[in-house]
Symmetry: C2
Subunit: 200 residues, 2 copies
Amino acid sequence: MSNLSVGKLSAPRLQPNDHERLHGLGGALVWFTGLSGAGKSTIANLVDRRLHEGGRHTVHLDGDVVRTGLCADLGFSPGDRKENVRRIGEVGRLFAQTGMLALVAVIAPYEADRAAARARMREGRFVEVFVDAPLSVCEGRDPKGLYARARAGQLRDFTGIDAPYEPPRSPEVHLDSSGGTSAEALADRVITYLRDRGFA
Amino acid sequence: MSNLSVGKLSAPRLQPNDHERLHGLGGALVWFTGLSGAGKSTIANLVDRRLHEGGRHTVHLDGDVVRTGLCADLGFSPGDRKENVRRIGEVGRLFAQTGMLALVAVIAPYEADRAAARARMREGRFVEVFVDAPLSVCEGRDPKGLYARARAGQLRDFTGIDAPYEPPRSPEVHLDSSGGTSAEALADRVITYLRDRGFA
């Protein structure tokens, strides 16, 4: 039969180790979780820019961006949030497997959904960053006007208002983003954590 | 109010150009389409390995792999295939936007679904590679025994047997993988195409 001849019949697929050798660094998935307005995207963006300037290959997966593409078919019910977190986790895993640093800034309000994303990663490769500010502070900031709309009943299933947020119990990094520390200083803490573990 | 202070308030997010500057090459999504057994994964794997050895950052998204993760919830009905291709297209787009070369080896039997994936990419960044071998040849190879199972009625909606395959009308690269040319030589053709356009 006319097989497609291949010189090295058993040429294996590239593995995460192969990609990491090329980068000289380990891949990881860094998940910034917290309420809307807590500063997840702001801090992730600063981490992203600083590491990129240092030559690190990164990707910043923002909830708002992903919901216009990969997860455009999903809403905000518990089931849809679970699926949203699952897909983003799988994408972050694919990026991490190629040796990249995937920075995900997505609320991911349910502990079980974050745990499921963690369980798909190799040991130590899931870095949970809790961007922690009280609801009153986040609602006071309301950078996108979403809390006001939620309070007015124009948005349903809004985390912190009429949908729950389950805070991480033992995040790898816990940031107090209520306003006493600058976003740059908080980003520094994440970068230090990542450098100490060979991810940046 | 206690805002999260940021020195450069308007620090923009990294753009594809920023990532491509770091790579020194443009990102692209290369889609290997064709029947099961035509050689899509074999050729994509050879392209992947060769470019990786030359220092290019790549990702190889194989249908079988993606279906155990991101698309584990999907079957093989036309609707599920459409969604499978859509998600993989979005993931490939995310990789390409970070300056990487995303190699997708997925049947994607419907012209409209491939066109939709192409439409999401920047002009020239979607490279359709038609891995073309007749059904009789692919069925004769049957590397995974899938055609035999489909003929026996144990698999439904199998492309080429009881589900259609719509061949590309004007693929960027058209490879005759019916057996007269080695997989390495076919991979070379893809690599030449990519190098000529600054993607590798």
